[in-house]
Symmetry: C2
Amino acid sequence: MDYTEIAPIMARLWSPLAAVTSHWQGQDNVQIAVAIAAASIVPDRPRVVVQLYKTNHSHNMVLSGGAFALNFLKPDQTNLIGDFGLVSGRDQEKLAEFDTRPGESGSPILSNCYGYLDCLVVNAMDGGDMTCFLADVIGGKTLAEGEPLWWRDARHELPQEWLERWENKQSSEVATSRANMDQISYTSWQPPK
Amino acid sequence: MDYTEIAPIMARLWSPLAAVTSHWQGQDNVQIAVAIAAASIVPDRPRVVVQLYKTNHSHNMVLSGGAFALNFLKPDQTNLIGDFGLVSGRDQEKLAEFDTRPGESGSPILSNCYGYLDCLVVNAMDGGDMTCFLADVIGGKTLAEGEPLWWRDARHELPQEWLERWENKQSSEVATSRANMDQISYTSWQPPK
């Protein structure tokens, strides 16, 4: 299969850009994610499914703490892709200079964003290279009008140097994913008894 | 939490409309789904995450057979929402009058659609009212230009009678989900050892 033949479909299966925040053992962290889907048809019991890659520091904080917040970005917040997406929380406190308050889940909520969902994990599925988290949305609010920020728009606005750093980071992560995703494969799928 | 406060966010976390086809023990089936997300950063190893509700006949076929295809709809195919989404495969052979061929996974591929992804299940997560399937995309092709069909556009084009049937069906499913989703909840979440 040639990926270009399915690229128009796959491009429409990513979510708006979210800063995924977490809090665990006294530390706050944040990363960028675009693999988020709605996961409930009951309006007063909203749920989401969020994929986090195992190499991200946030992954282990969410897995251990069972909580996170999704802070969707506004179109004028492409700078946060660099601040949150191009450095690791292992190396620095990425949220130190941002105005946040703790949500009910304990996760930091960004005061300035398109809107947020405060979430508690209810289940998790191993994807080999990533974990897919199912979570209850226990709080949230839309803070801006119009559209949130989508990667397909953001990429055209990033400085060339950031795009190159993003692509270098992505290449390294693709290599890691390729090595690890086969830990879970259809050759081992068995329907539940 | 007032759902209207997060509605603009949640509305952007649903996918384009897909006819999810499956084949199991000699029977073909199809249902409509909008809870689909991309689930791989490796272009030549595409994956998706798809949620199917347990009350749907397709759910059991996919869980047992470990295979499905996603046939995304074109904007002029709102009629398929009625044909595939308002009746159950338990009652009739919904695909009998449509031109299909079996994909590599065994799942029927619709000849006329926006594009399709042929998928094999690699893992599954219990969501209480639904199962969240992680699947390898083993084949696929985009067959049309422009945008696929999104629910937010489709709902304005459906005949009033279909909308009422859709809403009645949805009300019944919401009641079932409300009763079952607490089987999985954050009060029971434990991080893996």
